[in-house]
């Protein structure tokens, strides 16, 4: 019997203690703890690794603090384009979507590609149609928008930079992706 183990990430970057205010740091820690603890409970209950990583990333997508799903960064045109993938080590099967705009949980679309199609990667409109046919929840693109990310876009536009979400932060909160 293997020792069930889970790890999650919410992005890396120039996250220095000095530049993060205590309240915001607490929000991040609470979000990470809640998600990793619930994944640990799923593993303890016998869930498969594939189900657990899918659910953990779905929760991370639902949390506005991280650059995925709600809280995603903005493109140059002020829109959101989301990408996701899942891979099962037992079978080497994989599913992915790229450039989707209306799929509430891209990781669920990726999982559906893995399970319900002979393909690995769907992009753009095709990925959206596939997700819709699979009965996944569709939302308007601005569902993913948050004020913090809009401020980051304005900062990036003013400085003519393309910023990884790791660099997309503003002083003092230079968040990483």
């Amino acid at each position: 019997m293997a020792r069930a183990t889970i790890a999650i990430h919410g992005g890396a970057g120039a996250i220095a203690r000095a530049s993060m205010d205590a309240d915001k740091e607490l929000l991040y820690r609470q979000a990470l703890l809640q998600i990793v603890a619930s994944a640990q409970a799923l593993l303890a209950a016998g869930s498969s690794a594939l189900d657990v990583v899918t659910e953990a990333v779905r929760q991370l997508e639902a949390c506005p603090l991280f650059n995925a799903g709600v809280g995603a960064v903005f493109t140059h045109e002020g829109t959101h384009e989301l990408d996701a993938s899942v891979m099962d080590g037992r079978t080497r099967e994989a599913g992915a979507v790229a450039g989707v705009r209306r799929v509430r949980h891209p990781v669920l679309a990726a999982r559906s590609v893995l399970e319900n199609s002979p393909h690995v990667l769907f992009i753009g409109q095709g990925a959206e149609s596939f997700a819709e046919k699979q009965g996944l929840e569709m939302v308007s693109n601005d569902f993913f928008s948050t004020p913090e990310r809009r401020t980051q876009l304005e900062h990036a536009l003013n400085t003519q930079q393309t910023l990884l979400d790791h660099d997309g932060g503003l002083p003092p909160d230079r968040k990483f992706g």
Binding site: A68, T75, S85, L164
Partner: protein
């Protein structure tokens, strides 16, 4: 960018990655996150999810490279992860990090930036979360 890797009680591994991309990116630009072998990979030996300068993680096939260093080079998970994150990625001007688990339950969460939002939990132990390098 967010991700998860897991080893279940049956000894199976899996990985998942999801992202909103880059702030102010050109419409249509895609990074490593949706590409198996670049931003996400899982085999019977190891599961990896990456975050960082997508183009560099694509050009190095970062996630698969760790599996290859372990399988063909005999490196441990920690050695392979460190080599990728602290040598190969910076050599191409990239930055970021990853999380990885191998079939023996070894964990690696390296990053070459100042911090990474991360957490892990092993069966029967308290979960751990961290943000800064020095934690």
């Amino acid at each position: 960018t967010v991700g998860a890797v897991a080893l279940d009680s049956a000894g199976n591994l899996a990985a998942a990655t999801s992202t909103g991309g880059m702030t102010n990116k050109q419409v249509g630009r895609v990074g490593d996150s949706p590409l198996p072998g670049a931003g996400c990979y899982a085999s019977e030996r190891v599961a990896i999810s990456c975050t960082g300068t997508g183009e560099v993680f694509m050009r190095t096939l970062a996630a698969y490279d760790i599996a290859a260093m372990m399988e063909y080079g005999g490196l441990s998970l920690q050695q392979a992860s460190d080599k990728l994150i602290h040598e190969k990625i910076p050599a191409l001007g990239g930055s970021g990090g990853l999380i990885a688990i191998d079939t023996d339950g070894n964990l690696a969460l390296p990053f070459n930036s100042e911090g990474m939002y991360r957490g892990y939990a092993v069966a029967g132990e308290l979960p751990v979360v961290a943000i800064y390098r020095e934690e």
